[in-house]
Amino acid sequence: MSQPSVLTLYKRLETIGRGAYGSVSKGIHIATGNVVALKIIDLDTADDDVGDIQREVALLSQLRDAPNITKYFGCYMDGPRVWIAMEYADGGSVLSLMKASRGGCLEEKFMAVIVREVLIGLSYLHKVPVIHRDLKAANVLVSATCKVMICDFGVSALLATTSSKRNTMTGTLHFMAPEVLHTNPAYDAKIDIWSLGIMIYEMAKGSPPHSNLASAEAIVDTISKMKPPRLQDSEAGKDMRDFMAMCLRELPSERSSADELYKAKWMKSNAKVPNSILQDAVRRLHQAGPRASLAGPLAWEVDEYVV
C-alpha cells in the first residue's frame, strides 16, 4: 500500500512567496480546515540534492516540541515535487513589519519582545543542538496573535550550498559571523548569536551593516576585517546597545549564549511585557495594504493542466 496523494490531504491556495527552490503557498489541511504554509520544492532540477531536503525534514521532525519555531506537520511527494507542510504565520515577517513602519525600522519596545521570543527558540535549538545558520528579520515571523516564530530551517542552509542560488546567499552574507567566513570554517551555535546581533542592528537601522556593499567578496572582506558593528548612543537605549554588543563579539567564546542573553538587563526589564504589544506593529502592516498577490497557477500546474 503506498501513501495517499498529498492532494487528498492539503488544498493549495494562493502563492505567498517564490524562490529558486520553488514556492511557498498558503494551503488548507482538508481534514481539519486549518490554514498551513506549503513549501513546494521541485526536485527534478539539475542541481538539487535530495539529501539536503531529507536532512532538513529529519531535523524538523526532531523539533516537534520546540517553542517559537514554526511547527512542521509533514512532508509528502507529489510527482517530482515535495510538499512540506508548516505552520502558517498570518502576521508577517519581522522584515515586513519593519518595512511597514516609519523609517523602515522598529521601535525598541517591539524589538525587545521579538528578541526575547527569538531567544526562547534559540535556547531550545542550541540544546538539541541545532544551529539555525540563517537568522535574520526575514526569517522571524509574527502571527496575528503576536506569536513570534523562527522559520526557514536548513532550506536556507540548503540554498547556501547550491551554486545556482547565490543571490540568496549574498542577501544572507551580511548576517554571517566572522568565523563562518574563514577559509576553513569551524563554528558552533554562537554564529546564531552573532546573527541575532546583526538582526537587532537591522531592526534598529532598517538594514544590516555594510548593506551598501554589492559584491559578496566586499562583504566577506569587510566583515572579516572590521570591528564588530555598534549602534550610536542616539540610536538606541543603553541596555539594548549593551545587549547587541554581547552578541557581536569577534571571538565566539566571548559571545554570550542564548540562556545568558535571556538574563541580560535589556531582557529582564522587558520580561513582563506581553507579546500583544506587537499588535500595533502587525496592524501597521495590514494598513500598509496586502502584499501583492501571487495568485494563479504555478508553472508546473500550468504544464500539467495543459497536458
Partner: protein, 329 residues
Amino acid sequence: MNFFKTKPRTPPDLVRGLRDTIPRLESGAPGADTRRKASEDVSKNLQQIKAILYGDGDPLPELVAQLAQETYNTDLLQHLVQNIARFEFEARKDVVQIFNNLLRRQIGSRYPTVEYLSGKHDILFATLAGYENEDVALNTGMILKEMLRHEALCKILLYSDKFYNFPHYIETTTFGISCDAFANLKETLTRHKPMVAEYLDKNYDRFFSSFTTLILSNNYVTKRQSLKLLGEILLDRANFNVMTRYIANETNLKMMMNLLRDKSKNIQFEAFHVFKVFVANPKKPPQIESILRRNKDKLLQFLKNFHNDKDDEQFSDEKQFLIVQIQGL
C-alpha cells in the same frame, strides 16, 4: 552542605531501575497516573544514563564500563528499541544518543556492544522494524545507521529475510522516512563492499527481482535514488561478476532504454549511467548486441540530442564514446 541531596545512583541502579520501569508504562488504564509517573521515570533515568555516557564531554571510563556491562546483563538495549514508541518525545532522542554512544564504544580494537548485538539478532531486526511506526522511524533509523557501520551487524541484516522488508518500508512511508529507509538500504549495500559483493553474487536473482521494484517505483525520489544506486553498485570493481551478469540480461537493457526516455531529465540521466555499461561492454552477449543493432539508428538519433545542454565534459566524452560504439555495430 545540602542534607537533602540524594546520593547519585550507580550505573547498575540506573540501568536496572530503567528496565523495571518500562513494563509499568503499560500498567493501569491509558492516561492513568501510574503510566504518567512511569513515563516520567523512564525519561529521568534515560537523562541520567546519558549524563554518565557523555559526562559534559569528559565521561568517567569506569562508570561507563559499569553502565555498558549492565545494559548487556539486563538486555536493556532490546527493551529500549522495542518500547521506544511508548517513551516521551525527548526521551526517544535520548535512547538514540545512548544506543549510539554504546555502539561507538571501543576497547582496543574491540567494540563490545557490537559483539553483544551480534548474538542478539532480534535487537537489530526490532530496530529495522521501527520503520513501521512513523512516530519513531527516524529515531530507530539513526540507530540502524550506526549499527550498519559495523560489518558484522550489516552482514546479519543483509543475510536475513528481513533485509527484503526495505522496499516495503521505502514504498509505504512518507517522504522523510522513505528517504531514511533508502539511505540505510544504500548503507547496507555500499559500506562493506567485499562482503556485499559476495552476497550479491550468491543471491543475485532474489536481490535484483526485489531491487527492480524500486527502480520501477511510482515514487519519483525512490525511482531516481535506486537507479543511481544501481549505477554505483554495477560500476564498483568489487561487483564485477554481478555487473557482468546484469549487463548480459536483455530485460535489464530494455528497462534502461525505456528509462532513458523517462519524462524526468534526472531519471534519464541516471539511466544513461547504467545504459553506458551495456554498450561499453567489449564482450557483448549476442542477445544484447542484437537489441542494440536493431535500434541502432534510433539510438544514434536519440543520443545526438540527449542532454546537450549539460556542461559536463566527462558526460560529453562518454556520450561520444557510446555513439562511436553503436555506429560500429
